[in-house]
């Protein structure tokens, strides 16, 4: 599904080039549940953003469903974005001015889904996540866990094939975290959604079926923490 070859990401500051990612080769097939781990500043989020088309690599090749992303136009990327990829953030990033219902509905609006269809889809999503009673509340009226559930609902309403989650449980306590992870697991197993998450937590990582360790912008084949010991 995804193939990265020799991906570099760097920033040039004055006469110095700082690499955030260097020489990344990565293959991800459909249906995988992957965790990216690594210490702060290892380039986890950057890698995730590149995988989600939010950022562009400085060099290298990036294929998504056999399409060369590094050659796609902005418009085409935006289309892929809408139809194939969903995002979940650590800070939830819900729109404060919109209710739960409206937040979940938002991606459908951008895709110009018809009103009737849209209503059905949102209702279905609310039902699935047991949020029906809370549909008219604003994000500030929800707990962190509930907000993240809305975040996940929003991310998957468009039926994405790839779900990217940047520390989805970073702001949650353990019980809420487990709920979100269970949710991910179900999505992965029942709906076949490919999931890539970034996390610091070994516990959360244990839900996935592959772990990629990053350190200083490169993939470490073995667990980096064990190396330090």
């Amino acid at each position: 599904m995804i193939r990265l070859r020799n991906i570099d990401k760097y920033v040039d500051k004055k006469f110095q080039r700082t690499f955030i990612l260097k020489n990344i080769d990565l293959d991800i097939s459909e249906g995988e549940f992957i965790t990216i781990m690594g210490p702060s500043g290892a380039g986890k989020s950057t890698l995730l953003n590149i995988l989600g088309f939010l950022d562009e690599p400085s060099e290298g090749e990036h294929y998504f469903l056999n399409e060369p992303v590094h050659q796609l136009s902005e418009k085409k990327k935006s289309q892929y974005h809408r139809s194939h990829i969903g995002f979940v953030f650590q800070a939830y990033h819900l729109l404060d001015e919109l209710t739960v219902y409206e937040n979940i509905e938002m991606p459908l609006l951008y895709r110009k889904v018809k009103t009737k269809e849209r209503k059905a889809m949102v209702a279905d999503m609310l039902d699935r996540f047991n949020m029906v009673a809370k549909k008219d509340l604003f994000p500030s009226q929800l707990s962190g866990g509930q907000q993240q559930v809305v975040g996940v609902a929003r991310a998957i309403i468009g039926g994405p094939r790839l779900l990217l989650a940047d520390e989805p449980t970073g702001n949650l306590h353990s019980e809420q975290s487990q709920q979100i992870m269970e949710l991910f697991k179900r999505l992965n197993e029942n709906d076949g959604v490919t999931i890539i998450q970034v996390t610091h937590s070994d516990e959360m990582a244990s839900y996935s079926n592959r772990i990629i360790n990053l350190r200083d912008g490169t993939i470490v084949r073995k667990n980096p923490y064990r190396l330090i010991q």
Binding site: S45, N49, G52, L54, D55, K75, S78, H81, R82, G86, F87, F89, A91, H93, L94, L95, D96, E97, L98, E102, M106, P107, L109, Y110, R111, K112, R154, A155, G158
Partner: protein, 811 residues
């Protein structure tokens, strides 16, 4: 989708009530002011355009060369336009208008004052005034034919047919035949360069014009021509030299043609039928309108960009869930439009409330529904487009171009929205406000200067009355009045402050031909100058004891005798001159008893008085000459009253008036109030400018207030840290305020030369004016700084007083 955008916009608006209020409120006030000014400007520009063929109608203007300078006049020999019409086939019609302004008429047995116009029949051909009923063709001997306006017809003849009714004039020394109403016309629109409740008309062929009259001829009519279609006035103008020759025009005189639509804004003849507008005010107010809108627009930009951090997060989220750039652009521009239209809606509610206030202030009749005409709507559309483009497009473009990865990580969007842009915009706002404040101050100082300036006479507690047919009665009337203890002095004069131009004559020295002076000639009785407390420089006032003061032609008598004997006596008749006259004629000392025999001015000088201002202080005191009169026929009587019992004196005067002049309505005015009338337009200007300045500084401060609040909010953490490290409240307030105050100071530095330049230009219009001083600008600047300081420090103090524990904890 649009519903959705509106929903987001509305929730944005209501969750940030404070900013929204300032944003929309400021914008609405700016827009409302703009709309008011737009209404005013359109009204002023619409004058006389309602006449069907206004493009073809011209007023004749006489141009005369005096001392190498061309002066312009409106009155010239009557009959001239008909002569022109017979010469040029391009002239379709010609007519003449004359007006005495408000005149008394006796309708249904009562005296009423009506705006009167005297015209030739052809007036109705040129000016498309619709006749509701009746005709304009009748004629009858011994009567004047007249039409009245619908308003007058409804007011005075509610139950009967006004046509055929007879209206009487107030008795006067000249024949006053009764008027017969032959028709009713539609009310003359207020945007016309003349007013008329009643129009008297007669046949054109009353006077003929064969050659330029040697003695100047009868000059009392305004003369108009209408050109045929597709003729331009230049075509006529080119052929004029042959006419000058044929009709024997003096070589220093020529004619020019003034388009009727120019009369209101481009003409300032004292004889104009209505006091005109001023194109300069149109420019000034238009500029002010744009500036006010600019200030309001800047608030919008500043507050939008200040909030852009939050909004760019929203943009980032929308991008990650699939919004395209164009969708975001639509949303943000749509939101701005929503804001602007909301403000417009409020402005449209404000305008009808402001209109009565404006009308009373400016003596105008602006109506709300005139907003809904194509020109005004286009104007509003244009204004809004500019506003939306300038204040919305830029933030929208910027926000929609943000990279979601950056903003979602909490990295502030940097580049164009750094604080520098906002700083510059704040400086612009306060430069405009500061300049307006300075202008208001200076206009105010100039006006108090002219109203308190020594005029050369005492204008307080002087009552003016104007009886007709005084003659021999005049003296006994005066004596009778003086019997009352409340009346100290009484004097009569041909001069009156409302009509100071009535008697200008050209004077020239026979030894120095080519040099001419416009002298104001006035006739006074011996009591006039002492009654007004005028100051004598040399010699004496007129007095009954000197028969030579009254010798020569008696212009007040029933029959003015131009006998040889009288003419000779006239040459040595006593005259009093003012200082300007002495200087103009370059007379040598001793002035007293010099006998002058200039062209237009002859007599023996018996006194020199100090200059006194007869007209508005826009003009310099003219050279003036005074003759004594014995029994004036029609004059202004000046009565100096004792301040304590003016009311009593007034009722006494009225009783005496009724006894002496039973057929004349009693009317009076006070000299100081009449003089104040001369500065009406300046007083309006200062009031309007005051309002504009208040609005400008108000809107600017709203923006500054919100910006200060926002900055304080953003720097909460910094303030917390500083306080933990030991900063006092005063330190923090100074820290937060000084940035803003510095901006205001820079703004004042920019505003000062602009205001200086503009005010210098305005003051040129006054012959007597204040000198611009540095402290005036410092004063205005201080006002701006203090207002800004109060605005900012409130927010700063609040931020500085906040508990650092709470503010640090929130991070």
């Amino acid at each position: 989708m649009i519903k959705h955008y509106i929903k987001i916009a509305w929730r944005n608006l209501s969750t940030n009530k404070f900013y929204s209020l300032i944003n929309i409120g400021g914008l609405a006030i700016g827009l409302a002011t703009c709309l008011m000014i737009l209404l005013y400007v359109f009204k002023e520009l619409s004058y006389d355009k309602h006449f069907k063929n206004h493009d073809q109608i011209y007023r004749l203007v006489l141009e005369k060369e005096v001392n190498g300078e061309w002066t312009r006049e409106l009155y010239f020999p009557t009959g001239l336009p008909y002569a022109l019409k017979s010469e040029f086939p391009e002239i379709k019609s010609a007519t003449r208008i004359n007006s005495f302004g408000l005149k008394y008429f006796k309708i249904q047995g009562e005296y009423v004052k009506l705006d009167q116009l005297r015209v030739d029949k052809s007036f109705f051909e040129i000016f498309s005034i619709s006749l509701i009923r009746g005709n304009t063709d009748e004629s009858a001997s011994g009567m004047i034919m007249a039409v009245i306006s619908r308003h007058i017809a409804e007011l005075y003849f509610p139950d009967e047919d006004p046509i055929g009714q007879i209206i009487y004039q107030k008795p006067a020394p000249w024949p006053t035949p009764p008027l017969k109403v032959t028709g009713i016309i539609e009310n003359i629109p207020s945007n016309t360069h003349f007013k008329a409740d009643i129009i008297e008309f007669s046949e054109e062929n009353e006077f003929s014009f064969d050659a330029w009259p040697q003695n100047g001829g009868t000059r009392m009519f305004h003369q108009y021509i209408e050109l045929t279609k597709n003729t331009r006035w230049e075509d006529i103008s080119r052929k004029m030299p042959s006419i000058y020759k044929k009709y024997n025009f003096p070589k220093e005189i020529r004619l020019s043609f003034q388009p009727v639509t120019d009369i209101h804004l481009y003409s300032d003849f004292p004889q104009d039928l209505e006091p005109g507008g001023d194109i300069r005010y149109i420019y000034i107010f238009s500029i002010v309108a744009i500036l006010l809108l600019l200030i309001a627009g800047i608030n919008y930009i500043n507050l939008t960009t200040a909030k852009s951090m939050k909004r760019s997060r929203e943009a980032g989220i929308c991008k990650t869930i699939g919004a395209s750039r164009s969708q975001l652009l639509t949303q943000f521009i749509g939101e701005s439009l929503f804001f602007v239209f909301f403000a417009l809606l409020i402005a449209l509610l404000m305008v009808p409330m402001a209109i009565p206030f404006f009308n009373s202030l400016y003596d105008k009749s602006i109506v709300f529904h005139s907003l809904f005409q194509p020109g005004v709507i286009t104007g509003i559309g244009l204004l809004l487009t500019v506003l939306v483009l300038s204040s919305c497009l830029y933030p929208a473009l910027f926000l929609s171009s943000q990279k979601p990865t950056r903003v979602l990580k909490g990295i502030l969007p940097s580049s164009p929205f750094n604080f520098n842009l906002r700083k510059i915009l704040v400086i612009v706002q306060f430069s405009i406000s500061g300049a307006l404040i300075a202008c208001t101050f200076i206009i105010f100082w100039q006006i108090s200067y002219i109203s308190n300036k020594k005029l050369g006479y005492n204008k307080e507690q002087v009552l003016m009355i104007r009886p007709n047919n005084m003659r021999e009665q005049g003296k006994s009337f005066k004596q009778e009045l003086l019997r009352h203890p409340g009346i100290m002095k009484a004097g009569t004069s041909s001069w009156s402050p409302e009509n100071p131009y009535s008697s200008y004559t050209t004077v020239s020295d026979p030894k120095e031909t080519g040099k001419e002076f416009r002298f104001s000639f006035n006739e006074v009785d011996p009591d006039f100058m002492p009654a007004l407390d005028m100051e004598l420089v040399k010699g004496r006032f007129f007095s009954e004891e000197f028969p030579a003061d009254f010798q020569g032609i008696d212009f007040g008598s029933n029959r003015i005798e131009f006998s040889d004997e009288n003419m000779a006596l006239q040459k040595t008749r006593s005259i009093i001159l003012n200082e300007t006259a002495i200087n103009a004629l370059n007379l040598q000392k001793p002035y007293i008893n010099q006998v002058l025999s200039h062209k237009g001015l002859s007599g023996k000088i018996i006194g020199v008085i100090k200059d006194f201002n007869t007209v508005s202080l826009h003009q310099k005191v003219p050279p003036m000459a005074f003759y004594a009169w014995k029994n004036p026929n029609r004059a202004t009587v000046y009565l100096r009253l004792v301040p304590q019992n003016i009311k009593e004196a007034l009722s006494y005067i009225e009783i005496k008036w009724k006894k002496f002049f039973p057929n004349q309505p009693f009317e009076f005015s006070f000299l100081d109030e009449t003089l104040d009338q001369l500065y009406v337009s300046e007083k309006r200007l200062v009031r309007l400018f005051g309002i504009f300045a208040i609005l400008a500084i108000g809107i600017s401060c709203l923006g500054l207030f919100a910006l200060a609040a926002f900055t304080a909010e953003q720097r909460t953490k910094e303030i917390g840290i500083r306080k933990v490290l030991g900063a006092s409240v005063a330190n923090v307030v100074a820290l937060l305020s000084k940035d803003f105050i510095r901006l205001v100071l820079i703004a004042i530095v920019i505003a000062t030369p602009i205001a200086w330049y503009a005010m210098n230009l305005w003051l040129q219009g006054f012959a007597y004016r204040i000198e611009l001083q540095w402290w005036m600008f410092v004063g205005a600047g201080l006002v701006a700084v203090v207002i800004a300081m109060v605005t900012v420090s409130g927010q700063s103090v609040r931020a500085a007083m906040a508990d650092p524990v709470a503010s640090l904890h929130s991070e």
